[in-house]
Symmetry: C2
């Protein structure tokens, strides 16, 4: 059982005679058998609340600066036609009372509050977006994170880690971008993938006939969920942790990178597909930025002189975070250069920055 | 002056002792000097409203089935840190009162109500999405429609006609898709564009050295706005209504199509870029579907036997509307075949269907 929260707002060009206007609306609520309570706002405009049948609750508020807002909360399963009708009546009456003198009327799609399946996953830059999610197909709490795979009508299944949209089955654009946007020749090359538990990069890389791919993913439960529910992304590569030209190590990538660096093992491509907020089991890496730099430093160590390091940045709007990251690139023990690309990843609902980094 | 509307919802696994829980929250509101009113809900759970300083207004509601919702409306310019603090305190207290026994806590980005610049432009399939819009750069009411060009930080300027997002400067993907996704050879061809007032198709088509492009756009004010504010889309092609290989007719396309059909004038490509809800000045075309069929029928008449007709469909989720359109294709006076493609148009926040239609 959930609640639908309707909003209907009127922006008036000038402060109207609000008490009179509010009075004029009364009949609409009386017809709906809603009981009104007028509140004392201590000079902050006009405020009435309404209690109606079936748990309906309304708030009508008129701000002295000329904004009139109306909220209507209804229980799921309430008569939608009746609710629509009430909102239509209110809109009609307001237009008539104000002689059409309204700057803007805004009626948003109802907020769905307390639904069994949560459809709201804000963007990295903090905007409210509603997804067309209709089903939870996988949910686990691993030692490292909360893992959800949700079904979207248009994007297919979406992997969400700790509330962040990671990748949907529609998002080949992400995988292509973090592999160098088709401009690289992977044939015969040695590739290291950090993270990548959804199997997208592994699946695409295997097709390009590299010599060997090593993937280091910390979370077995991510692999398990994606193997089952993200097959448009991972194909069959996660069915086994080893294949003709790849192996998956289910480990924290930090000690693995350190081991590789010590052993002098190097790669043509290092692809950092760790989640935006990185996960580490090591207690000494307590800040995200320190962790990022550590990973970068170690990755550059295991990168061949002609090699390339690929990683996602963040939403293109987070210019400060991106600048900070670029500054970090200047502080590495090895001098590097970089280029970046802005890519539209379908399920992200925001443009995303990807980096290519190489040794100077 | 606008209002920020914060929501904070708690989904409880089982109906808790709600009155006791609500009582336990009282101190938080008292500290904020909010005056409470307890409402009689006629058996529909627990409902308290709060009036606070600076016009703050809160609603705490506990539904008997275990959903607790909190709303807080604040005037723009209110102390955000204080508001955040109140929400944090509420969340902390709820966790403690219910001993962490909460299924989901959901706090959405605040709704911005009555803002000078409207950021909410729902998708075609009716979902709520917030854009990163910070400025109105153009707004006109023409004889045909309301025209807005809004600036988005990430998408550039966005053309919005009658409240529908039409095209942003980031949306080359739309233009490429409606031109056949790069699989066509336009060199030396004759092209007819219906609508297309943003100039995107014209700009891209001109680069492909066609023999002649005729564009028929009804609304001079769309052209004017886009020429000035959508230059990443239209380049300089709208600076003049005629060019080396194109002419723009500022007319209703229906009589133009009829004229062309009578004259026996034909085209290699007809690109229908009319808005989703079509505009016609002719009173006899009163239904959208009739209008669509009329345009289609006339377009197929002026299409050469080897020609192709391109058009946008709609959001991939609107399966019924798409099926209905495809059925219409079977009722044309000339028999046609079609293919479709699903494309990610960055500013749309939903996947979009494009059609290619040709004579059987």
């Amino acid at each position: 059982m959930a609640v639908r929260h309707y909003t209907l707002d009127f922006s008036l060009p000038a402060p109207a005679d609000l008490p009179a206007t509010m009075q004029g609306l009364q009949s609409i609520f009386q017809e709906q058998e809603m009981t009104e309570t007028i509140h004392d706002t201590e000079g902050h405009g006009y405020l009435v609340t309404f209690i109606g049948k079936n748990g309906r609750f309304g708030v009508l508020r008129a701000h002295s600066h000329g904004l009139v807002t109306f909220d209507l909360q209804c229980c799921e399963g309430d008569d939608v036609a009746q609710v629509d009708n009430l909102l239509n009546e209110l809109e009609k009456k307001m237009k008539s009372l104000l002689h059409g003198n309204i700057k803007r009327i805004k009626r948003l799609p109802a907020l769905r509050r307390g639904d069994e399946v949560d459809r709201y996953w804000p963007t990295a830059d903090g905007r409210l977006v509603e997804y067309d999610i209709d089903k939870v197909v996988y949910e686990e709490d691993s030692v490292y994170q909360n893992i959800k795979i949700l079904h979207s009508q248009q994007f297919g299944n979406i992997l969400i880690l700790n509330g962040d949209v990671n990748l949907a089955e529609s998002d080949l654009a992400y995988t292509q971008a973090i592999m160098g946007s088709g401009k690289e020749n992977y044939a015969g090359k040695e590739v290291l993938i950090l993270g990548g538990g959804d199997g997208g990069i592994l699946c695409e890389a295997v097709k390009l006939k590299p010599k060997m791919i090593t993937m280091v993913e910390i979370d077995q439960l991510v692999i398990d969920g994606c193997r089952k529910h993200m097959r448009k992304t991972c194909g069959n590569v996660l069915d086994s942790l080893t294949g003709d030209c790849y192996e998956v190590l289910v480990e924290d990538c930090v000690p693995v990178l350190k081991r590789f660096a010590e052993e002098g093992r190097t790669f043509d491509y290092v692809i950092n597909d760790l989640t935006a907020v990185p996960i580490s089991t090591a207690p000494e890496e307590d800040s995200t930025w320190e962790f990022l730099t550590l990973i970068l430093d170690l990755s550059i160590k295991v990168l061949r002189p002609t090699g390339k390091y690929f990683t996602q940045g963040n939403c293109v709007n987070l210019t400060e975070a991106l600048s900070q990251y670029e500054e970090q690139l200047g502080t590495l023990s090895c001098r590097v250069d970089f280029s970046k690309e802005v890519v539209c990843v379908p399920s992200y609902m925001e443009l995303w920055v990807f980096y290519t980094i190489w040794k100077k």
